[in-house]
């Protein structure tokens, strides 16, 4: 019931906005729908925890929820809720400035709910085919939002995003088919051969060669979605040109689905292969992305581009963590993913504020935020502090644990991580130094901006940095044991 509700609210939202989306109160309704979805997902979480096995199946086994997916479901609904709060004011400002018209606003809200829906489908689907369809759907839903402003740059960005992602995902479909094929070949019936639950039961007897082939295609396909180097080229463009709430959703949520899919496949294929090959692949791509982004961050003038490279960097590191395997690293990957989503979406929201106030994305022009717009400046500064890995925010904890986990297996990688972290810190702070602390200009815009969701996201990241509640920890532990086969709490 509650599961149906969770999927029902975004659908209802889509229909509602198709009918009434062009009114000004649509933003408020968007918040309501997102909030209801969030509540439903929390309810689902409670349900799942209370259930005996820790996992639930719905709709004739087509949908499946366990601790791992549930973490991400609640994260998704929560962030889409906070971003919805932010979108309202942001979009109204856009409307008032005539950057968009009412029809575009309506389209935005429809696609917002559609995006939420596809995201939820990705996480809840038990079927690798549906998973693929939803990932593709998420891309399609966001493609036109990226070019919402219809500037030549935004159209170019959207085009690149669209092409690179659908091509990538098409490759992932081949991987999916390979898995399906290998499953069918060991005479699993046709209805079960695409279901995670069934595949897992037969994981040991699937054909290893084919699975390996499948994983390469999946890696390239879903890796495009994660933004792994060298498939990442759409990412900075799309992030920098899309409206701020969209960037927040892209960076906070969309990148996760690719990784989720990849980790799910890793969970399936790893026990079959018996080697660590997949992990090494993921580690390699993660590290390359991490270092690449670290080096790129230095020479940026566009503030959103810079943070999008930071997303590549962090996603690289998270991919690395999952690739590393083992309870600690998997736990870190999961935890990192959650905190990164929270913080990065907060950062992109604050960037939206900054850009709306200063009317510029160029860091050469934005100067002295702390003086001209103290509250906006400080939220962005705190977000930046959090993202570069300083305590008391959760990313610090993840990075510490990640280093420890890496040390236990691959010592020689630790220096690379250290260099990368340093590069990203140096790059970001080097570029942002004048933005925060420079000489501010005198004309101060009096535009109304929304800070509450940013503060909310950051406070949760702060809270998790200081303390992980017992229940949540158990939960993460359960998810970790799903991923790594063994929990982190003994």
């Amino acid at each position: 019931m509650i599961f149906n509700l969770m999927l029902f609210f975004p659908c209802l939202g889509i229909i509602f906005f198709i009918l009434f989306g062009h009114y000004r109160m649509a933003g408020m309704m968007n918040i309501c729908f997102s909030f209801l979805t969030f509540l439903a997902s929390v309810g689902l979480g409670v349900n799942t925890v209370l259930s005996s096995g820790g996992s639930l199946l719905f709709w004739n086994n087509q949908f499946y929820v366990d601790a791992f997916s549930l973490c991400l479901i609640i994260l998704t609904t929560f962030i889409s809720f906070t971003v919805a709060i932010f979108s309202r004011q942001y979009m109204l400002n856009n409307l008032d400035e005539n950057r968009i018209n009412a029809r575009m606003l309506q389209f935005y809200f429809i696609m917002y709910q559609a995006f939420t829906l596809t995201m939820l489908l990705v996480y809840t689907s038990n079927n690798i085919g549906i998973l693929w369809i939803s990932v593709e759907g998420a891309t399609l839903a966001t493609a036109l939002l990226v070019s919402l402003y219809r500037t030549p740059e935004s159209i170019e960005a959207a085009w690149k995003y669209f092409i690179l992602c659908i091509v990538g995902i098409a490759l992932a479909l081949f991987g999916t088919l390979c898995v399906y094929f290998s499953a069918k070949n060991v005479s699993i019936n046709i209805s079960g051969a695409m279901l995670w639950t069934v595949l897992h039961q037969h994981a040991a007897i699937l054909n290893s060669q084919l699975l390996m082939l499948a994983f390469i295609f999946l890696l390239v396909g879903y890796g495009t979605k994660i933004g792994l180097v060298p498939f990442h080229f759409w990412l900075p463009d799309a992030h920098s040109e899309s409206p701020a709430p969209m960037s927040a959703l892209l960076s906070g949520l969309l990148l996760n689905i690719g990784l989720y899919a990849l980790v799910r496949f890793k969970m399936l294929i790893d026990p079959n292969l018996g080697t660590h090959l997949i992990g090494i692949l993921m580690m390699a791509f993660g590290l390359i992305s991490f270092l690449f982004a670290g080096f790129t961050i230095f020479r940026k003038r566009n503030i959103k581009r810079m943070f999008s490279y930071s997303s590549i960097e962090h996603m690289g590191l998270i991919t690395f963590a999952f690739g590393l395997g083992g309870p600690l690293a998997s736990f870190v990957g999961l935890f990192y993913m959650i905190i990164h989503s929270l913080v990065k979406s907060a950062i992109f929201m604050s960037l939206g504020n900054v850009i709306q106030l200063t009317k510029s994305k160029d860091m050469g022009e934005i100067k002295g935020l702390l003086q001209s717009y103290p509250s906006v400046g400080w939220t962005l500064l705190i977000g930046t502090i959090a993202i570069v890995g300083f305590p008391p925010f959760g990313i610090f904890n993840s990075e510490v644990m990640l280093v420890i986990a890496t040390l236990k297996q691959y010592l020689f990688i630790v220096p690379i991580i250290i260099i990368g972290l340093l590069l990203s810190l140096g790059g970001i702070m080097y570029n942002l130094n004048p933005v925060f602390f420079g000489q501010s200009t005198d004309d101060v815009s009096s535009l109304k901006v929304c800070l509450f969701p940013i503060v909310l996201n950051l406070s949760i990241a702060l809270y998790f940095g200081l303390h992980i509640p017992h229940g949540f920890m158990n939960y993460l532990n359960q998810a970790t044991s799903l991923i790594a086969g063994r929990g982190i709490l003994s």
Binding site: Q62, N127, G129, I130, W132, I133, E136, G137, L140, A143, L144, S147, R150, T151, P152, E153, I155, E156, A157, A158, W159, K160, F162, I163, I166, V167, A170, L171, L173, F174, L177, Y180, F181, S182, K184, N185, I190, S191, A193, M194, N207, Q209, L210, L213, P236, D237, S240, E241, T296, R299, K300, R301
Partner: protein, 224 residues
């Protein structure tokens, strides 16, 4: 029985060869309408193959799948593309690739490469199955190659569609198609994707007044 199977094999082989061949032609095709026609032809071959499978296996879902292919890929999408080209008034555009011989050579190499990759996999029981998977994989990669070597935005739809054809073909031949719901979902996504392509064409047209994707290069890093 033996003969019957072998006839089936012959037909399938022929179809797969033709699909591969059509991909090759697409790579160096000079006119837009010609390219769309070739794509429609390839989709039609796919439809034939699906129909054949359905007849052989007596599977209802396969018929359905064949119908989808027919409606979507043979009729709707080419029609949509015709419509786009007409509306955008670009049917006069010459889209000559630069080094057609090199491209074909590369494509050929790609097929050999796919063969090299697929052959060691022991799971494929018969040689024919292997060959068909090789063809499917080649078609997928050729679709991608098409996008890499051609500069016209319309060709990108074709490239993507050729990839999808390759995927469908591989699904069809190796696993007797996908589950119905997945098939439907994928088809739906495809339709949306093509519509989105159309929207993009108009946007691109209005913003840069050309369909040459190489002109879309303002977002770059090496200038900063």
């Amino acid at each position: 029985m033996l003969i019957q199977v072998s006839v089936y094999q012959q037909i399938i082989s022929t179809i797969s060869a033709l699909i591969l061949f059509s991909s090759f032609i697409l790579l160096t095709q000079k006119s837009l309408f010609g390219s769309i026609n070739i794509f429609a032809f390839q989709s039609f071959l796919l439809f034939l193959a699906t129909l054949l499978q359905a007849v052989i296996l007596h599977e209802n879902s396969m018929y359905f799948s064949a119908v989808i292919t027919l409606v979507l890929k043979v009729i709707s999408i080419p029609w949509l593309l015709y419509y786009f080209v007409g509306r955008l008034r670009i049917h006069q555009d010459k889209i000559v690739p630069k080094h057609p011989f090199l491209i074909l050579l590369g494509a050929l190499f790609l097929v050999v490469y796919c063969y090299h990759i697929i052959v060691p996999i022991t799971l494929f029981s018969s040689l024919m199955e292997k060959h068909i998977v090789v063809v499917a994989l080649s078609v997928i990669l050729l679709g991608m190659l098409l996008m890499i070597v051609r500069r016209n935005a319309i060709i990108y739809v074709l490239g993507f569609m050729v990839m999808e054809n390759g995927l469908f073909f591989s699904a069809l031949m190796s696993t007797q198609g996908m589950p119905m719901i997945v098939e439907l979902g994928v088809a739906f996504d495809l339709l949306i994707a093509v519509i989105l392509f159309g929207v993009f064409f108009f946007h691109i047209r209005t913003s840069i007044e050309t369909m040459d994707v190489d002109s879309l290069n303002h977002l770059r890093e090496d200038l900063e």
